[in-house]
Symmetry: C2
Subunit: 335 residues, 2 copies
DNA sequence: ACGTGGCATTGCAACGTTGCAAACTGGGTA
DNA sequence: TACCCAGTTTGCAACGTTGCAATGCCACGT
């Protein structure tokens, strides 16, 4: 016996298909006795609505896509947790896709989570250029996360990365550091976020009367711990190593921390470290990470609220929404 | 103008609806010239298949659910990454749901990811009792992850938690530790996995001629860093603190590590630590964590392969599949 | 000229649901 | 008694796609 449908229930309860549908969707319009009889039939047959048919008929499926580079990076994992929770609040379920930062995959998935009939998409790009976010006829609405500027007609939700990076670096300057490195540029990707963070970093240096030394601006391949280790080792191999490092993600910072330990350097005494993202692991590392904390929950909620509005009215103009952040001072770069 | 459908394309290309469908699904049966004409029309109209209609017609939607307690716990995040990748390999997309370990939510979601028309579900339970995994008429097939034994008719994929815990503890015994604690029991949940790990831990103690001291078996509320901190502090407050701690997850171990640092204890000199899960953060902590490493990729692949088989043939008997694990010896508990 | 076989294309129906509007029911009112 | 209205229930059609089976077409061999 296959899965029961409305007709099976209707037959069993001795009512019309339409009435069963009413019991499921608008129970209050059905007479009490009828409703109870139908509900019993539903129970007995184990009826569950066919979502595909409902979606086809209604024109929406209450599913949204979440497209991130990698769901196992702590920042994205934490973000995803907030998105899933916020989505549930709105009656949505979340479909997760990974791009691995691959431009081609980002482009494909931008067109609607592999076409999987989602009502909308929350998209966290790494390498997408603004030009690529256009001409997407028939694709579901998208909200972009992060600092990819210049999309214009597309909604975007992000923290002010440049200001955040400036504050982080200023904190290091203020604590007396004079040779401050930056780790996390990704020149091989058109990663706008990294660019903004570097801009903020440089602003803070200038404001503190420090010169930019490009030898201290270390590019990385990816943003994992291992990349942080490599970058830190490179910095420590310099003739004049830094006395502070601003890492563009906490993962990089934790890698840098590890590299310092391996080399026998003390943090923060010999080198101060600041991260970015405020992932849980950074709150419990030894020493605990000073870091920029984006309000991830707010970010998720705002992204979904924006998406909901756009789904309701696709003619809305594109919006640029800013979410607050704070600098959390911990042991790796104390005041 | 709304979204284009097969009929719009057919009209524009001057062919039948069926031929357009053929171009989309089985291009090789269509003549080259026709195919090109249709493809041009598809491009021009920006046609994208309606997934709901396809799903309704085909009877499957190539979407599976992944139900985990929390997607932002590193272990589940890493697992999810593997699941998403493996799913893509099989042409599936993954819908993620979080239970927060809440029994009621676990029960609901077990019945098919909030009914969201998934073809199958990969379920990672925390507190579900075997009795609850029954009588699910019409619900999609499920593969259970972890050590929830006794489901019988349901497929299950897991590592041998008891053996793994035994090996981890034996490693501590072999390195000369004599007062070995265990952190991670969750007596308030019917968490079978924790039970198995304790059984393995006790086995190893017995084999090493050590007595079980229930004062050294520390329960925790959740499995986060903070719980590890609290548990470790409790252990260090004992009249006779342990010289080694086996934590049931790496997150707990990292919390314990942090607590040791705060108290000025050296790891591994004063206390050795072993974790479980082999999350990335544990590979870069100071000191790096000795831990049990489940083959997560294998776990994900096997779970999905099993699910695929069950979807194909729902009359298959329930299977219990075991995935390999290894003990990775690092600094927190050297040989 | 005609049948044959292979390739290409087509029409019909159905998947399960819900929007719409019509139809029925019973009791209260003019 | 005839009528009306609110409360219930119903039938029909359509959402967009694909399985099935039939039809059309053409080149080839006889």
């Amino acid at each position: 016996m296959s899965r029961a449908n409305l007709r099976d229930v209707a037959e069993r309860a001795g009512v019309s298909v339409r009435t069963v549908s009413n019991v499921v969707n608008t129970p209050d319009v059905v007479a009490t006795t009828t409703r109870e009889r139908v509900q019993r039939a539903i129970e007995e047959l184990g009826y569950r609505p066919n979502i595909a048919a409902r979606q086809l008929r209604r024109g929406r499926g209450d599913v949204i896509g979440l497209v991130v580079p990698e769901i196992d990076s702590p920042y994205f994992a934490e973000l995803a947790a907030h998105v899933v929770r916020a989505a549930e609040e709105l009656g949505w379920t979340v479909l997760v896709e990974q791009t691995d930062g691959d431009p081609a995959r980002e482009r494909d998935l931008l067109d609607g989570a592999r076409g999987h009939g989602v009502d909308g998409v929350v998209f966290s790009p790494w390498s997408l250029t603004p030009a690529e976010v256009s001409r997407r006829a028939g694709a579901p609405p998208v909200v972009m996360l992060g600092e990819q500027a210049g999309f214009g007609h597309v909604d975007r939700v992000a923290i002010d990365n440049q200001a955040a990076a400036r504050e982080a670096t200023t904190h290091l300057v203020a604590s007396g550091r004079r040779r401050i490195a930056a780790v996390g540029l990704q020149p091989h990707l058109s990663n706008e976020t990294a660019r903004h963070r570097r801009a903020g970093y440089r602003e803070a240096l200038a404001a503190g009367g420090l010169a930019v030394d490009t030898a201290l601006e270390v590019p990385v391949d990816r943003l994992h711990h291992a990349d942080g280790v490599r970058a830190m080792e490179a910095l420590l191999d310099l003739a004049e190593p830094p006395d502070a490092v601003f890492c563009f993600t906490d993962q990089l910072a934790l890698g840098a921390l590890r590299a310092c330990a391996t080399r026998g350097l003390r943090v923060p005494e010999d080198v101060a470290l600041v991260g970015f993202d405020d992932i849980e692991a950074g709150r419990y590392s030894v020493p605990a990470l000073t870091t920029v904390a984006p309000d991830k929950q707010r970010l998720a909620e705002l992204a979904l609220a924006t998406l909901a509005e756009r789904i309701a009215d696709r003619s809305l103009p594109g919006r640029d929404l800013v979410v607050p952040h704070t600098l959390v001072v911990r042991e790796s770069a104390p005041a």
